[in-house]
Homo-oligomer: 119 residues x 2
């Protein structure tokens, strides 16, 4: 698979990361996402990582980068669906994902962004 | 990757298919999705296939099955994000996905399900 789909939900973009990230895929995602934020006038980005059993420093850095880019483009980023084991690993690795907001799931992430929690 | 994540958005479940489906993964998805429809009392299921360049008869049958199972559990299924080339292939293969509703994207799919289009 060569690119990760970006789904538009109102003023929000949703990215679900399911596959192992590598350099090129991460670059493509950053390009696509920044383009879509501008094109769709998005106010928020939700990154769902519920399918990931492991978040290493590469993915951590990519998420930080995406959040920083989105911020400059006036969109907030919320990381959702983190598995308990991933949270443990992140802290143990010293990757605290500063500057990235987190929420338990997509519903809560939407509410956090103030863009229509639906339940 | 062993399972496809199912995201809850209000009364709706969203499944993004990004990886090549095989028998076991399809079975797991059917199990997970039916369980989640009951557990989350979902009224609708959105299946996003925007990442798929190809939908063969196996995936077509899986989508039909999921829609039929969801229907019995009182949830509607809408297939969203189909690429133009996929539509062409489906018709050429004679796979018309009868019984499955389609929408251009997630936003329109949500509106079709009457569960909060957000734009």
């Amino acid at each position: 698979m060569e690119r990760i789909p970006i789904l538009k939900m109102g003023k929000l973009l949703l990215v679900t990361i399911q596959v192992d990230m590598h350099d090129r895929l991460a670059m493509t995602l950053q390009d696509d996402l920044t383009t879509r934020i501008v094109k769709d006038r998005a106010k928020g980005v939700l990154i769902d990582i519920s399918a990931l059993d492991l978040v290493d420093s590469f993915i951590g850095r990519m998420i930080n980068n995406i959040a920083a880019m989105a911020k400059i483009l006036d969109a907030d980023t919320v990381l959702v669906g983190m598995q308990p084991a991933v949270a443990i690993t992140l802290v143990e690795l010293g990757l605290t994902l500063e500057g990235v907001k987190t929420a338990l799931n997509v519903d809560r992430g939407m509410k956090m962004l103030g863009l229509g929690g639906m339940s």
